[in-house]
Symmetry: C3
Subunit: 631 residues, 3 copies
Amino acid sequence: MKRTIGTCYYPEHWPEEMWEGDAARMVEAGISWVRIGEFAWSRIEATPYQLDWSWLDKAVATLGAAGLKVIMGTPTATPPRWMIDKWPNMLIVNEQSQAYKFGSRRHYCFSHQPYRLECVRICTLMAQRYGANPHVEAWQTDNEYSCHDTTLSYSDAAEQQFRLWLTDKYQNVAALNTAWGNVFWSMEYNNFEQIQLPNQTVTDANPTHLLDFRRFSSDQVVSFNRLQTDVLRQYSKAPLIHNYMGRVTDFDHYKVGADLDIASWDSYPMGFLEDRSEEGEAFKARYAQQGDPDFQAFHHDLYRSVGRGRWWIMEQQPGPVNWAPYNPAPLPGMVRLWSWEAFAHGAEAVCYFRWRQAHFAQEQMHAGLYTPGNDPAPGLFEAKTVAAEIETMPEVSTATAQVALVFDYESDWAWQIQPQGASFNYFKLVLEHYRALRSLGLSIDIIPPDSDTLESYRVVVIPGLMSLNSTLRNAIDNFAGAVISGPRSGSKTAQFAMNLEPPMPGMRSKISYVESLRPSTVIPMKNTGNVINWIETTTNEDPVLQRTACNRPVLIGDGHRQYLTAWADQSALRSIFKTLCQEQGVAVQELPDGLRIRDTKEHRFVFNYNPTPTQYQGLTIEPAGVHWEAL
Amino acid sequence: MKRTIGTCYYPEHWPEEMWEGDAARMVEAGISWVRIGEFAWSRIEATPYQLDWSWLDKAVATLGAAGLKVIMGTPTATPPRWMIDKWPNMLIVNEQSQAYKFGSRRHYCFSHQPYRLECVRICTLMAQRYGANPHVEAWQTDNEYSCHDTTLSYSDAAEQQFRLWLTDKYQNVAALNTAWGNVFWSMEYNNFEQIQLPNQTVTDANPTHLLDFRRFSSDQVVSFNRLQTDVLRQYSKAPLIHNYMGRVTDFDHYKVGADLDIASWDSYPMGFLEDRSEEGEAFKARYAQQGDPDFQAFHHDLYRSVGRGRWWIMEQQPGPVNWAPYNPAPLPGMVRLWSWEAFAHGAEAVCYFRWRQAHFAQEQMHAGLYTPGNDPAPGLFEAKTVAAEIETMPEVSTATAQVALVFDYESDWAWQIQPQGASFNYFKLVLEHYRALRSLGLSIDIIPPDSDTLESYRVVVIPGLMSLNSTLRNAIDNFAGAVISGPRSGSKTAQFAMNLEPPMPGMRSKISYVESLRPSTVIPMKNTGNVINWIETTTNEDPVLQRTACNRPVLIGDGHRQYLTAWADQSALRSIFKTLCQEQGVAVQELPDGLRIRDTKEHRFVFNYNPTPTQYQGLTIEPAGVHWEAL
Amino acid sequence: MKRTIGTCYYPEHWPEEMWEGDAARMVEAGISWVRIGEFAWSRIEATPYQLDWSWLDKAVATLGAAGLKVIMGTPTATPPRWMIDKWPNMLIVNEQSQAYKFGSRRHYCFSHQPYRLECVRICTLMAQRYGANPHVEAWQTDNEYSCHDTTLSYSDAAEQQFRLWLTDKYQNVAALNTAWGNVFWSMEYNNFEQIQLPNQTVTDANPTHLLDFRRFSSDQVVSFNRLQTDVLRQYSKAPLIHNYMGRVTDFDHYKVGADLDIASWDSYPMGFLEDRSEEGEAFKARYAQQGDPDFQAFHHDLYRSVGRGRWWIMEQQPGPVNWAPYNPAPLPGMVRLWSWEAFAHGAEAVCYFRWRQAHFAQEQMHAGLYTPGNDPAPGLFEAKTVAAEIETMPEVSTATAQVALVFDYESDWAWQIQPQGASFNYFKLVLEHYRALRSLGLSIDIIPPDSDTLESYRVVVIPGLMSLNSTLRNAIDNFAGAVISGPRSGSKTAQFAMNLEPPMPGMRSKISYVESLRPSTVIPMKNTGNVINWIETTTNEDPVLQRTACNRPVLIGDGHRQYLTAWADQSALRSIFKTLCQEQGVAVQELPDGLRIRDTKEHRFVFNYNPTPTQYQGLTIEPAGVHWEAL
């Protein structure tokens, strides 16, 4: 497949006179795709029911005439000010029960029914107008669901919908009381109307109450999005996309993705490193101008799964951004590296955000491909290089990996609700497993927790999965390869009670008790590396494969079914995975620090995240360098 | 006295079929006492006025039939959901004036008069039913008053009651204005109705306003508890108990204790170390699996005082808990050590919390004596060992100590209100004085601030006591032994103004000014150790006994009356106490780190909090070891 | 001019019998000025409209009879409790939209119109009574505007006034939408009534919305103060003063100062070091008993500018205070040093706060010249020394400096709203430039951002000035000396959009992009020192004067117009300023650490902030020593 590049453009921010020139320069830069419209509601409908499509018609026409393909965004992430006058209760409410105010974005509550109807109305009007427009070749629903922590809302609307959701799930309140264990602390309800949202309790709320609220909240995003896809599909045959964010887990992306044709995400490697990484100071200083070498790849692999193979970068960081605690410039070459890394992981398109830096309002310090004064910015040159390289590039096709890693949104909610140790973080645990696998030179597929078959893989890794559903249990039962599960995987029932059975199918040991460890408590392994954060004691009914220096079992099982009782550090994980992969005939290599590889069907790509030249099999890869070779 | 062990049991959590077997195994484990009922309101009264006692009757009968003694808990810490429908304003309100929600526990405001009547009603019904039951041999009121910071409530109910309390105390508003110094910043009130709770002020509220609110809030706990004891005493002759918590100072335990027969507390050594200790990282890492070696003993001695000699452990940590930032497992042997340490300090009973770990709801990760799957957990074996040892043990009787330490709840409120230096913490100050005394091998009595005689002691230590009342002043005047007071002791009047007289009875120096010190400012003593946190300058009208290296007086007075002008560190305190004790003929010995001793009338007990064997007078005490020898 | 000393006195706090003795001892101590009245509203008007002036008449008479001059404070900072009954909505509201409560001070909202009328009423009554009193020789309006963060209020009153302010500024909402760039994220308003205060938005509010709110809030302070000065000038010819605080930037002091005759500030060197300094632990430990050696001088120079040459210390720290995190005592000699440093910078009077430490209420731990027991406190002796030294002192007259530094309140608001890097702090940036200049032995004038001429200076330094207005641009154009501007100076338009033109008049380079740096990212300069926090990339159209070791331009321009593209550390700044001053014929000398000098017309003053003797040109300056020599 021929990869493409694109950009994000806001015709409403610039005089009409500039549009044609902008379009011409986009084409000249090798750009194919232009996303527009997603924040323009106040220009489409400046006052209620007074629609003005003329400027947008013209923008689409101008871009289309230049040969560009338009991705049209529905404008529902930024309802205009008059909408709040019309529906004052539509505002999202925070955990302290305070409604947010108008004045930025994403200020709506997903559960507010009248606002949902307003969204259906504007989407219908937009789809009717542009659904058959030949230049509109893709649609984006809303923008960055959950960004700025906007999935959870403690509004009256959410409370009402939550009660309906619970009624639907449990049918009668006695069933709910049993499922939640409400006999504990006299928490039993007499009817569904008594149930409130689980914020502002004196001490911990019931964990199942909390988990059901997280499930409900995620479902609200799914159904909100589906309202839009239902409308769009009536009027358009173009693929439907949403642009997810990095390290956002508040809703189940697999479920939203099921209603869309293509997944996409907004990749800000440096912003995310500063803003959303638990790595320490030394790591952040080292990768301050590159981003975490595994964070992007992890999301590429995750969203490829969410998009069932089809995915894009909808917004690619092109230079310094405005929103992280510190915002330096990328190392020269990084914009190209990030782009090629995305392609190597299967991205169909990489769109740079944004075409031209705005000189006003909230994002005036966010770089674009052009400066606010309309001069080329450094990112432009790298984007042009990428476009030129695409032209000379043979196929880049995604190959199925030999190793699969299960990622589950619900588990992240579960362990946020019940970390048991302050350092237990599901996302971090999974990312560290991914990092260890990647540092062995592996390409990885991320798969959902309800995968019904594992047969294309040789090794499946399942860290911290709260509960193994029957689909996955069956898949494991039928799987000839190796599965390594734990810590904490399978420790709960679907209702978030303790699982009293062995946590790992095919093994006999049950969990006796668990311990969470202070950061300064490090337990050395007998071989290499350490146990950190977490260790479990089991009934010890399986062979022991690895122990701590003080002889506690850490890895138990056999060659095909293994359970990890502890949070192993990078060194220990690499050792464990290396042995397991070699046993399964999966080739591994220990990569130099900062170097990562990714195999497509045709090529091996090598990416150097270091600010210094790095050796790879006799080759010198330049700082921020990308190398590819035929397989 | 023969010591006993017990456990906490929730028949309502388990099928009736399990009760008899549980009771049999309790007896087999050597258990005498079983606490039940304290969270069961929703099962006793599932809907208003529909009482169901049948299950509880049966539970009591089953336990009693097995030979167990029941401690019946009043269920008032967890009013059921329908109670909130009935009395929406009963909810506790936080300092930000936001009402907490139903969904966990302790959600009531102590000042809400209708809820008080509901408590009287349920206690009366319960006492009528079980007051004469031969198996109910003790009662527990409510559960863990103040846990989760639930003493202070900023509700409308609290405001109304506070005004009544103030009216009662001051009679007229002019007297209040004078007592509080309200002329300062034009804070004068025209009538009691104008007085609000002292939260959410622009900057500091008046300190006497704050202190009176703390006194009022404490008194509300006292009167709430007394409502229950008044009812229970009408129907039962069994002793009345409340289970206090560790490091909870928001109400005056001496006053609550005055209405009860036995004090008890819930001892979670490891949870408290993680959650409620200001000790540094190294200390916490060292004692992560043991708990602070002085924290338990301090509370044992404190609650022995609160119970006027009679006290229990109502909940003893039996394994990893669920609520601290980090929750490792105790070192093997610690459950036994904690139990024997409690007995050595005079505990009549040690009850383990809980019999069986629940597999659902908030505390599903909290260890019990049995696992949720009904297998024995590590704590069970240690509890059985303790039970067996009790059988072979001669008398364990409490001896009066030679050293007394004054602990005062009001002083903790005072210095929270007016720390003057961010590191001045009353509880920490007293604990550090206690620690220094204990590390000299001393047994200590903790006494209240209104002790009317000190004659049984040789040395009395009074750190940081806000104000010396006339009772204590008289006791000091009549005391032949040595008193060491300060820093900050006696610096205030009862109304929280500055005391302009000499702070220490029998001495002449007055305080000129005080200085609080940054943590990095350490002033070396001439002899050994350092001044940290705090130093006072006096008018210097008494002999100087100890000075800093730069010659500032730190300890002044004579052999019998001494005033410490500074916060002395452990090394300096040990040196000062050693000299003073030796002068008073009190034998001291410098104990090895991590080793503690406690003398009963008959024995010397030695406890090893170290994870390594430790020498004591030629003996090797094992890790987590307990040794006793006849005196 | 002969300098004077004064004190702050609260006759309402003490029995009338003490007043005469106090007055006599004030005179004996060499005191000329006594400030009274500023917190006494509840004693003047205990109930609405019942005025009692008798005690205040007597106090003024007693002080006047002793030969003291009274500064009369208007009592508007502490409206009494009954005022809140009368106007419940007058309370200031915090950013979480919660109204503060009565019970401390500064609890009013500047925008509340009825409270403004109450202030006019009480000021009128006070001015009518004392305006012509011969002993009342100065007036103070209110007390410490903005102390405890009281400028910004999110009340309904503020919202209404903000809409009026915006209507007045923009005339029509379309103009506002354009100025703010509200097309971004569909933030466009249909009318002014839709505009809310910019708190509690989901993510960043529009920066211009925020900046206009900051401008409005500042203007509310200005107009509130002007209401009082308008009244006072009707009845009194005495000079009008307000006492500003240290490091308070929430309102434009230049604008408030324009309505007053004399500026004054409340100087608490040690409290401010602990409470309001970003310097690190080592610095704070070193200067814990002295205060930051540049903080006081900076404010002296700033308020001299605000007072157009006339300024006082209204409250001088005389010993330990009560409000900082740690409150040690000043080094012996510091009270004298602080006093003389103020005089050397042009203070007409230094008043010590307070005469006698109060033994009650919020400030009972705040030192005075006398202890609460009426004994002399250490500060008294130093104040007396100062008074005696004044007597022997020839003239102390302010000379115009050769170096000017621009300080702008609006820039502090701007970079708080849009720091772009977490370590970018305008006040810190300016203070660091000031510190580097001072450590070169320079005396400095601080000037406002709308200075219309620079001709008295040789070097003008303009760090971080958000926007250069046309007045300053003209002054720069006409200035023969050297101007060094940046980083970030001139980067915005007046409406807080990006300035697309060259930021520095007379230079050609424009800003291409900026980078904020993590604290651990330090870029060495080619010569000496480092770039920290911030670096800009320009279009590089001017000569490069200084570069980083890796060759990035840091200082560009020529001998007369220079732009600093980065935040240079102390070492780099000293080097840059040294070269520039030497080129401009301004003598510099590198002072020993902790030593500072200040030149008046007649003398050179030398101040030793070190706790050790320090050499200065062959002389030994004692710890906390002051030296002066004729120029």
